[in-house]
């Protein structure tokens, strides 16, 4: 089936079988291997990407469902100069990653929440829900929570 995906602003005309999940198509057909696949059951969240601005599990969505849609992956977070985004810098500052396998998923679920909710810094319980969405086996979650809070506070300061 012929579909068109706009991934990180770039248009990809693709020919994919309906059975193929979005995560596999991003990795294999678009060559964007930043999106990781962990459990493929929708539990671990490593494959989280933004589809039309909303964080979704790329293992629980068919690529054909996204026909004509816009997808953002972890590769789309950096600026045009290749510099890390504020969120990525916050992850680095707070040591919010060790092995890094889960990091693309955490970055994308956090990026989606930061874009949707400018008051995130005032609602630590919402950050808890975001951190609780994905699995990390290294950090114990607390540094990830701090990193998302830091990015949310920086975003809020920048806009006020």
């Amino acid at each position: 089936m012929k579909i068109t995906l706009t991934v990180n602003g770039e248009e990809f005309p693709l020919d994919v079988e309906p059975r193929r999940i979005l995560a596999d198509v991003l990795r294999e057909d678009c060559g964007l291997t930043g999106t990781h696949l962990g459990c493929e059951h929708g539990v671990c969240g490593a494959c989280t990407v933004l589809v039309d601005g909303e964080a979704v599990r790329a293992c629980l969505m068919l690529a054909v469902q996204c026909d004509g849609g816009s997808v953002r992956t972890v590769e789309g977070l950096t600026g045009s100069d290749g510099e890390p985004s504020a969120l990525q810098r916050a992850f680095s500052t707070e040591h919010a990653l060790q092995c890094g396998f889960c990091t693309p998923g955490f970055l994308m679920v956090a990026a989606g929440a930061l874009e949707a909710d400018s008051t995130l810094a005032d609602h630590p319980e919402r950050v808890d829900h975001i951190v609780g969405s994905n699995i990390c086996r290294c950090t114990g979650y607390e540094p990830i929570r701090r990193a998302i809070m830091r990015a949310a506070q920086e975003q809020q300061q920048a806009t006020t």
Partner: protein
């Protein structure tokens, strides 16, 4: 594993979707949110010949209030109900208390409320609320539309009254009157587990006396349940002074109702880490706590309306 091969169609209207589903009696599946379906397809426990993706049918992406009832279309996602204001009155509060127990934000942004009725899992929060509130389910099939009451809809684990070829277009809930107290509490082993038990409670109270109670039980049997016996035991009973629901006295009416729910209404199934005795105990405790929460909710609603009039 990856999903096995299937045909895929994207209808633009409900009649097109029903036509596609009825097409030649093939093993067809409706894809709305897909958060349970795609998992089952990964595991190849479900191997459809045809997937009918209803996500591009605009008329299903609709929520309306008519005749004091809320109609939720088949494409309304779980996350809509995170805001208490999405639905007016105490029903909105009940939904917002329940929805945060459904998986996590990235699942709630795709999964749909109506999809829970298509799946019919005994641990579904929405299905137990539908049982408690006498919701009804609207189905569209090759022979036309029909409506099935929630009490006649659930036949067992993942078994429902929906016939092959039928599409659930919406679910309708009655709105709750202004001072109705609502509660929802869920107990589970970890963040990533289904409910071991959850209870939805709705109390209609006049002058401190319960005139009607409605209790929905999640994962307390092979299907979503309504706790009729516990409800009857609460009718005409005073809600008493406020309490947080922890370590309630044995003779407290909510403790008694919880025990009745666990012993007479529930039919729990044993699991390796939760035998029957434990499950019944958990049901009784969670039900009593949820009733306390609903009673407290009623008190705060009464307080707020008094405050408004001053």
């Amino acid at each position: 594993m990856k999903p096995a091969a299937f045909d895929y169609v994207v209808p633009r209207t409900v009649p097109e979707a029903v036509d596609a589903l009825g097409n030649g009696g093939r093993k067809a599946q409706v894809l709305a949110g897909g958060q349970s379906l795609l998992l089952e397809m990964h595991l190849e426990r479900i191997r459809p010949d045809l997937v009918v993706d209803i996500n591009r049918i605009p008329e299903l992406d609709d929520m309306q209030i008519t005749d004091n009832a809320l109609r939720v279309g088949a494409l309304i996602r779980h996350h809509v109900f995170e805001s208490e204001q999405a639905v007016p009155g105490p029903l909105g509060s009940l939904f917002s208390l329940a929805v945060v127990n459904i998986a996590h934000p990235p699942i709630r942004s795709r999964g749909t409320m109506v999809g829970s009725f298509g799946w019919g899992h005994p641990a579904s929060e929405w299905c137990a609320i539908a049982m408690a509130l006498d919701a009804d389910i609207r189905l569209q099939g090759p022979e036309g539309a029909r409506t099935v009451a929630a009490r006649d809809y659930f036949h067992g684990p993942l078994k429902t009254a929906r016939r092959p070829g039928e599409l659930i277009t919406s679910v309708r809930y009655p709105l709750l009157a202004e001072r109705t107290g609502v509660g929802f509490i869920e107990h589970r082993r970890t963040h990533f587990c289904f409910a071991q038990v959850a209870v939805a409670a709705v109390l209609i109270v006049h002058d401190g006396v319960i005139s009607e109670a409605r209790i929905g039980l999640v994962n307390c049997a092979d299907r979503p349940l309504r706790a009729h016996a516990a409800e009857q035991a609460l009718t005409g009973v005073g809600i008493g002074p406020p309490t947080d629901g922890y370590r309630l006295p044995e003779d407290h009416p909510f403790t008694r109702a919880g025990r009745i729910a666990a012993e007479q209404d529930a039919a729990p199934l044993a699991e390796p880490y939760a035998d029957l005795e434990y499950r019944r105990h958990a049901i009784a405790v969670v039900a009593a706590r949820t009733l306390c929460q609903a009673a407290n909710d009623h008190r705060s609603r009464v307080g707020r309306t008094k405050g408004d009039s001053q």
